[in-house]
């Protein structure tokens, strides 16, 4: 019996992946749940495991090919013994080797079936999700202009978007967004319009030219999208870290003994932000077309640097988490981010983000929003500095704080107040206890 292995659901707004590497060759034996193939998406690298034990049949999506959700990756002949692992193929960076066919299929009388031959996985497949319901002309206009159809106000029958709706959105500039799109590694064939319009560039032996990874391209696109969409502004403040440091020093051992995790700074900032977000809901809101969506849940993204780039796993319902829960979750995220093991679900749908440039030594910077969120807090390095306190100079461990916000929905007063509330909570953590 043959089992089909298809591209699993990849998470919110991700409809496509690139086949990064095959772990198994055609004909090779595979155990149930053994990794078969590695897929790379805009957000993560994930492994697809064998649903059954057997021998790998035909590989329908070669390394480097783009595959849509639900596309056929390969087949597994269930229960078949298969062969021993084939010798390792050369690195996939070079031209992918032609998949070896284990045994030639005997010729047989095959009836013609031209019309309804199902489109194989490797044929360009339709992206999943709402794009499918767009009419052909609307779809092209949306994709050509890199719009988010969810942000276009529909006027057609049953809520359909008409071509005129798209034209209006383009004119108003309201629907610019990241649309999942395919992009081949070669610039001439890629969908990236900027890349396509570049003049050819001669090779220079002193330079090295490498294609951007999907993750890097996604980061690039999203950062630029944030700058193009939001009216982004940053407000700064600073916090005396002394009180938190003292609290940490006092309870470090006891905390670690009880919870099995170190008490870090991040839990204080998460807690401080949640409190401030509750007071200033605009910072936790999102612009959706002509509406504002206020979110009564606090899903805080914590930016984590990895060798491949920045990823932002989400602490769900952070208002309901204790200090230890937060620290544990962040530790776990950091570890798995480094290994590339975070799932897409864990990185989708945050309402606010905290970015800590301090771990790299940054003293001061302006973070860029993580759309469609409206606020991001930048933490920085703790630096001893002379401060004027009650008319005297004291050396205090200080941290600059930055809040970048979307001025379209967050007023200056709200942004500044937010940052002041965070500062106050950090400088006097007792406030967190009594919801001040």
């Amino acid at each position: 019996m043959t089992t089909e292995v298809r591209v699993p659901t990849l998470g919110e707004s991700v409809s496509e992946a690139t086949v990064a590497a095959w772990r198994k060759a055609p004909g090779e034996a595979v155990a149930m749940d053994e990794p078969l193939v590695e897929l790379e998406t805009d957000k993560v690298t994930l492994e697809v495991n064998a649903p059954v034990a057997g021998a790998v049949g035909e590989i329908l999506a070669p390394t480097g090919s783009n595959v849509a959700v639900g596309a056929l990756l390969c087949t597994i002949a269930e229960g078949s013994a298969g062969s021993a692992p084939a010798p390792k193929a050369p690195a996939p960076a070079a031209a992918p080797a032609r998949p070896a066919v284990s045994k030639p299929e005997p010729p047989k009388v095959e009836p013609p079936a031209p019309a309804a031959r199902p489109a194989p996985a490797t044929a360009p497949a339709a992206p999943a999700g709402e794009l499918k319901t767009l009419s052909p002309a609307v779809r092209k206009l949306v994709e050509d202009n890199n719009l988010d159809p969810r942000r276009i106000t529909p006027t057609g029958k049953d809520g359909r978007i008409t071509k005129a709706d798209v034209q209006a959105a383009i004119e108003a500039g309201t629907a610019k967004a990241f649309v999942p799109q395919s992009a081949g590694p070669a610039a001439p064939g890629s969908l990236d319009m900027e890349a396509a319009s570049l003049p050819p560039r001669a090779d220079d032996p002193r330079e090295e030219r490498v294609p951007m990874s999907r993750l890097r391209r996604a980061i690039a696109r999203r950062l630029k999208e944030a700058q193009n969409t939001a009216a982004m502004l940053t407000t700064y403040n600073e916090a005396d870290m002394g009180p938190v440091m003292e609290l940490r020093a006092e309870y470090r051992d006891a905390f670690e003994k009880k919870h099995g995790v170190r008490l870090g700074f991040m839990s204080f900032f998460v807690k401080a932000c949640v409190n401030a977000l509750k007071e200033l809901p605009a910072v936790n809101a999102e612009i959706y077309g002509n509406d504002i969506i206020y979110k009564n849940h606090y899903d805080i993204g914590v930016a984590v640097g990895t060798p491949q780039g920045l990823v932002v796993p989400i602490l769900r319902d952070a208002d309901a988490l204790g200090f230890a829960d937060i620290e544990k979750a962040i530790n776990d995220f950091g570890r798995r981010a480094r290994d590339g093991k975070l799932t897409l679900a864990e990185m989708s749908g945050g309402t606010f983000t905290i970015s800590n440039g301090g771990v790299y030594g940054s003293l001061m910077s302006s973070p860029i929003l993580n759309p469609p969120q409206s606020g991001i807090l930048g933490m920085h390095k703790i630096q001893d500095r002379p401060m004027a306190i009650s008319g005297k100079v004291e050396i205090r461990p200080m941290m600059y704080l930055a809040l970048s916000y979307d001025h379209r929905i967050v007023d200056g007063r709200e942004a500044v107040t937010f940052l002041v509330r965070v500062k106050e909570a950090i400088e006097d953590p007792r406030r967190l206890l009594i919801d001040m």
């Binding site: 009836p111 013609p112 031959r117």
Partner: protein, 468 residues
């Protein structure tokens, strides 16, 4: 030739020539390499176009010889001038291939005659029939080499008595008995042509039904209609040998289940068991272009092969092997190269059999939907209840619409009947817009038209067809 092309297209069939013209429209400098002496590929030269010319001519003949008298048109003795009929077909082909030459000139596409091999993504070597090979320099290559008739092991095609679809278009006399191996679109169309011109036609099919991928109910209906027209079917039957004799051809057959053998005498045999991609001679193996097990070129969503800069479309990549699908591929591939978005919805490629009556189908079949566990509602309307069909005497057939049980979105339409190949496009447009059956039902349809049967079938999805 020192110029560097933006794009070299290999193959001037409906995929290749359309891609070349679209690329030129987008401002690219394009060359199109074709090994045939004329443009248009299989479709124009030995496929869709000549077969339709023969289908149309033979249908008129059959009508004149058979039914015209029934409606009071008496034409006396009708006789067949096959030579003239074939010449007319050749003229149609010639005119249309010339038409593409004109389009190439108009769009400044360079037509390069010869056989191409791909040296790299930037170099294509073209060997003309006579003379020296030239090398075209290019930014990228688009392979649109199409497909060819799949051979039946052990059967040697001579294109005279044992023919593929190509030879079946030019039989110099009407065979007394034509055996068609393969109950697919091509075999049934060509079988119909020769049956109308007087041949006894037997279709031998390995499976237990003809047009296996078609909606089963429509397929059954289709076979019944063809049977009525005199076509004979041997299903679940294997061809184990084909022997060319002095007087004709002897086929050895074997029943798939019982293994019972029999032999069949024929004047001509048409081998139409499917088509396979043409990639030999391109040098793809040397370049490392990945093919699948059946020889199709694998491409990604941008129609790019495993070798950057080399693209492929049409019959030589996986998917329905149809001219209009190749055209869509070609346009999308080229638009993507130009930095636009491009997309082909393979779920909405219509399939049409140009028999009489025609059969046309788009989207999913009932079997598909059942297997996928999708709940659907079905509306059917017979042409016997369509007033236009009654006036033209073309009331064989039915329209069947399958719509999502909950959302009413149209998922599949299957038509057997007059002008089915034209009727299906009303549904194709509706489906491209994600329309519901009610959308079709509430759209005003002209009266009296065949299209009203589509509207009534859409009403029938909701159980409220008016005219039945």
């Amino acid at each position: 030739m020192t110029d560097i092309y933006d794009l070299v297209v290999i193959g001037a069939g409906p995929g290749g020539y359309v891609a070349a013209i679209r690329a030129a429209q987008l401002g690219m400098k394009v060359a199109c390499v074709e090994k045939r002496a004329t443009l248009g590929g299989t479709c124009l030269n030995v496929g869709c176009i000549p077969s339709k010319a023969m289908l149309s001519a033979s249908e008129k003949y059959a009508e004149a010889a058979g039914h015209l008298a029934d409606i009071g048109v008496e034409v006396g003795k009708v006789s067949l001038n096959l030579k003239k009929m074939l010449a007319n077909k050749d003229k149609v082909v010639e005119d249309l291939t010339k038409g593409i030459e004109f389009l190439f000139k108009k769009n400044k596409v360079d037509w390069v005659q010869g056989t191409a091999s791909v040296k790299s993504a930037s170099e294509v070597v073209v060997k003309p029939e006579s003379g020296k090979a030239t090398t075209l320099k290019t930014e990228r290559v688009l392979i649109a080499t199409g497909s060819e008739s799949m051979p039946l092991p052990g059967v040697e095609v001579d294109e005279k008595k044992i023919v593929t679809s190509t030879g079946a278009l030019s039989l110099t006399k009407v065979p007394k008995h034509l055996v068609v191996i393969g109950g697919g679109y091509i075999g049934l169309e060509m079988g119909s042509v020769w049956a109308r011109l007087g041949a006894k036609v037997t279709v031998v099919e390995f499976l237990d039904r003809i047009v296996p991928a078609m909606d089963r109910e429509i397929g059954k209906r289709f076979m019944a209609v063809l049977r009525k027209q005199g076509l004979d079917f041997k299903l679940s039957t294997k061809v184990t040998g084909v022997k060319n004799t002095r007087t004709g051809v002897t086929l050895s057959l074997e029943a798939v289940k019982s293994g019972e053998a029999e032999s069949l005498e024929a004047d001509a045999v048409l081998v139409a068991i499917g088509r396979r991609p043409v990639t030999a001679g391109l040098g793809l193996d040397k370049l490392g272009v990945t093919l699948d097990k059946r020889g199709f070129i694998l491409v990604d969503a941008d129609f790019e092969t495993s070798v950057p800069g080399i693209f492929a479309i049409g019959d030589c990549i996986p998917g329905p092997m149809l001219a209009h699908k190749a055209e869509e591929d070609g346009v999308a591939a080229v638009e993507i190269m130009a930095g636009q978005s491009g997309h082909v919805d393979y779920g909405l490629v219509p399939g049409i059999v140009y028999t009489h009556p025609e059969v046309a189908t788009i989207g999913r079949t009932e079997e598909d939907l059942k297997e996928a566990g999708i709940e659907y509602r079905k509306g059917a309307f017979p042409f016997t209840a369509n007033s236009r069909a009654r006036t033209t005497g073309e009331s064989d057939g039915t329209v069947k619409i399958l719509a999502d049980a909950k959302t009413d979105r149209v998922l599949g339409v299957h038509i057997i009947g007059p002008e089915a190949g034209n009727l299906i496009h009303e549904c194709a447009t509706a489906m491209a817009f994600g329309a519901t059956a009610e959308d079709i039902a509430r759209t005003c349809h002209g009266h009296p038209t065949y299209n009203e049967a589509v509207k009534e079938a859409a009403l029938a999805v909701d159980g409220r067809a008016v005219h039945i």
